[in-house]
């Protein structure tokens, strides 16, 4: 009986301790392995790669600190891709919380390029190569308003500059001048972009989402409403792999470093489920014998 109790009634604190160990140790001793890139990420990479020269990429930063480990690596990888290909980037957020995180990503990646740049032409210049539009409440207003005019919705950018004076905004008027919109979100915004921006104005949409929301977004990928999809930390690692292997950009790959922790955590959970079910079957068999 005691053995069955051991199997079916493990104190949850022991489970937490084991999980803590298998998640933390690979982070302390990181290693990066090559990742096999799956079709949804390949599609997104190709969609960004094929944005015409005269069109822009809109990145919607809608993740918060809680989902930062999963989604921020996606933001960094996409920005590195866009800046390498000299695709004009318009950054915005539908909520207030992600604004600081968006600014951090834009400034960090731009700085990476500017440190290595030899001339002004090689540099990533704010206003010429990218614009941070900021936030306008409530979420649906900018989504619908940008179909007519982006500068009418965002009269000033995040830093207070008038958007109609920025060089990028003189060429990018509305969704017609946008090649792709990528929504990096832990919630429903990718669906809103499809419902309102794509349905009304035909803009192509891609997304980077958390792993837990994956099942509700796959139908949109299947129907072609999403031009591509990155799911969770693995999706971020796959995009990092694409950027490194296609563009030769060798930088720290945060998502790829975290994959071992993810792997071992999954294995531990599977083991605990097996242990629990083993105990369950043994106790069920005993009950049947007794009865």
């Amino acid at each position: 009986m005691k053995a069955i109790d051991l199997l079916t009634k493990i104190d949850r604190r022991i489970i937490y301790l084991i999980l803590f160990a298998v998640v933390t140790l690979p982070i302390i001793f990181p290693s990066v392995k090559s990742v096999r890139v799956m079709p949804p990420v390949e599609k997104l990479y190709a969609a960004i790669d094929n944005i015409p020269e005269e069109k822009a990429l809109i990145i919607d930063f809608d993740y918060d600190p809680q989902t930062l480990p999963e989604i921020e690596p996606m933001a960094f990888a996409v920005l590195r891709h866009a800046f390498t290909k000299r695709i004009k980037v318009l950054a915005l957020s539908l909520y207030v919380q992600p604004l600081g995180l968006a600014q951090n990503a834009l400034v960090s990646v731009a700085e990476e390029f500017n440190v290595a740049a030899a001339t002004r032409e090689d540099s990533i210049i704010y206003g010429r190569d990218y614009v941070f539009l900021g936030w306008q409440p409530p979420p649906l207003i900018p989504i619908l308003g940008m179909g007519e005019s982006i500068v009418n919705v965002y009269k000033t950018d995040y830093y207070g500059n008038r958007t109609d004076t920025l060089p990028v905004m003189k060429e990018i008027k509305n969704y017609g001048d946008v090649g792709l919109l990528v929504s990096l979100s832990s919630g429903d915004p990718p669906k809103w972009w499809i419902e309102y921006a794509q349905n009304r104005f035909g803009v192509k949409v891609g997304a980077g989402i958390t792993a837990v929301s994956a099942s509700e977004f796959y139908p949109y990928l299947q129907t072609g409403q999403f031009s591509g999809l990155m799911v969770g930390m693995k999706g971020a690692a796959e995009y990092e792999e694409e950027v490194e292997s296609n563009l030769g950009i060798k930088v720290r790959r945060k998502a790829s470093e975290s994959l071992p922790s993810l792997t071992y955590a999954h294995v531990v959970i599977i083991l605990f489920i097996v242990i629990g079910n083993t105990g369950y079957f043994i106790s069920r068999r005993r009950e049947r014998r007794l009865s």
Binding site: R12, P52, E54, Q66, V212, A214, S215, E216
Partner: protein, 361 residues
Amino acid sequence: MNIVMLAGFLAIAPPASVRGYDTPDDGGRSITLEWTLSPDDGVIERYEIYRSCNGVDYEKIGVMGRGRGLFEDDTEDRRQYYYKVAAVADTARAFSEPSAPVMSSAQWLNRKKINIIVAVAVFGGLILLFIQRARRGQKLFVRKIAGLQAIDDAVGRATEMGKPILYCPGIGYIEDIATIASLSILGEVAKKCGQYNTELINPHFDPIVYTVAREIVKESYASVGRPDAFDPDSVYYVTDSQFAYAAAVDGIMLRERPATNFLVGWFRAESLILAETGASTGAIQIAGTDQVSQLPFFVTACDYTLIGEELYAASAYISREPLLLGAIKGEDWGKVIIGAIIIAGSILGLLTAFPILRLFD
């Protein structure tokens, strides 16, 4: 003729058949331009679009890449415009013949949405039909929904144990249908709490939802003749930060030890944190959401789960009001029609997949 000679000299051919028309199904101020690609489309750099208001003076208004034969222009309504398109290679330009004059105007109907209007009309009609039948006294059957049937037992358990009931309506806003459905269940739970004198704890994520919920709970207590039992502080706003709200509700569960937890509404990632904490306190848990990503967590950690539209049916199920039951019947028949169309379409799709049976090509 000059254009043809010039193009011949420079060896690029101009685009042809430039046609402008009022962009359909829009609010005006837009003209769509189409043209046949230049035969030298593969070697040119781009197309330049030129516009004139009098057919004489043209100005460049836009650029399209090669391979593209469509352009949308922002215009003033009720003003005539003429267009030309030039194929450009280096410094050479091969201009098309000018288009016929065209004017933009606003439309009163977006014809692309007609199919949606028809579908909503059919669906709405079905609902109204069954509501009429319910009004005439026809009995409408709705299957047992375990989670809703358990509400009485759950409230009774809390009363017997002398512990409070925690009602968490999720982190949705008032425009979310799941939140509205949750508030209707809250009303019923509040009535029972009023009747049995059971303490109700109702923390909120959104200030507007809090305001509405407060009135609902107050009116519910009044409707069962217990306005004095209503505690205004039982319904309160906490925070609109997702995980701060989850931390607050977890704290309530661990301190107050409610006998029953209702987790009904619109949830995101905090759902498992709430459900698992509630399970660890030994409370009976009834959950319900239309967020498919959170359903597995609720099914795992809660005793009863309302899945998707079972939540929307709650109001009708609990009140047994004929009008509301009629609406549920209409919904079900709408699903039957959609299911039938999907099956028919799948069969047709299978048939056309066989080369011999391409009857519907």
